[in-house]
């Protein structure tokens, strides 16, 4: 929670758990912390998977018509009928991970470690834990458990509030 110091603060609600959507929250959280902001992340619904000890994140091209991948000197989008075929998500995920490595983009594991190291406060949604039957021991050590009221208390005192 933002302390009584003069430091600016940022909170965010993290709702998505695919590889591509895992980037914005962790990039912004680590950068804000590096710039001296006090940061709180509230992980709920599919965002909660980002707190698992073993991350096995994937992307889905299904229903994502704006997703173009550089391929053979051009950009290719995937028609939904192709996206729905078995193995296509796996292939797209492998391509994305390959690009991430090639372009010097950090892995989600690395960014998450940096966020923990930078004292970013993480709250895991208790209701989602119950709903999807997640065990506390499957999650990394740092996060505390909390609900909507815990988030609202933080958000009410934060300079920046994001929903991702």
């Amino acid at each position: 929670m933002p302390s009584d110091s003069n430091a600016k603060s940022m909170s965010m609600i993290v709702t998505k758990g695919t590889l591509d959507w895992a980037y914005p929250p962790f990039i912004l959280a680590t950068t804000a912390a590096a710039m001296g902001l006090e940061v709180t992340m509230f992980f709920t619904f599919y965002g909660l998977t980002l707190l698992k000890k073993d991350l096995n994140l994937k992307i889905s091209t299904l229903g994502n018509p704006a997703m173009e991948m550089p391929m053979m000197g051009m950009h290719m989008a995937m028609p939904n009928i192709v996206s729905a075929l078995p193995g296509v998500d796996g292939m797209a995920t492998a391509m994305m991970k390959n690009l991430i490595k090639k372009k010097g983009v950090a892995s989600i594991e690395e960014l998450r470690d940096l966020a923990v190291e930078a004292d970013v406060r993480m709250i895991a949604c208790q209701m989602t834990m119950d709903l999807f039957e997640y065990k506390r021991e499957d999650m990394i050590d740092g996060p505390t458990l909390g609900g909507a009221a815990s988030y609202i208390e933080v958000a009410g005192k934060s300079d920046i509030n994001l929903y991702i």
Partner: protein, 75 residues
Amino acid sequence: MADLTLDAKGLNCPLPILRAKKALKELPTGKTLEILATDPGSVKDFEAFCRTTGNELVDSRVDGGTYVFTIRHTG
């Protein structure tokens, strides 16, 4: 001549900023950090980083394909 040099070449956003922050933390106040980067976005980002954190951006230049920043630890 900077007191410490950080090679952030080949790294993409936000890693140059995160590495620079870590290096600055180790550096005594008043000392300078030189950062080498290849990410074109780092030019605007180091300006914003320094404005926000109160560190002094002493120099920002391009040397061949490398962006070279000098930051004095004052924040």
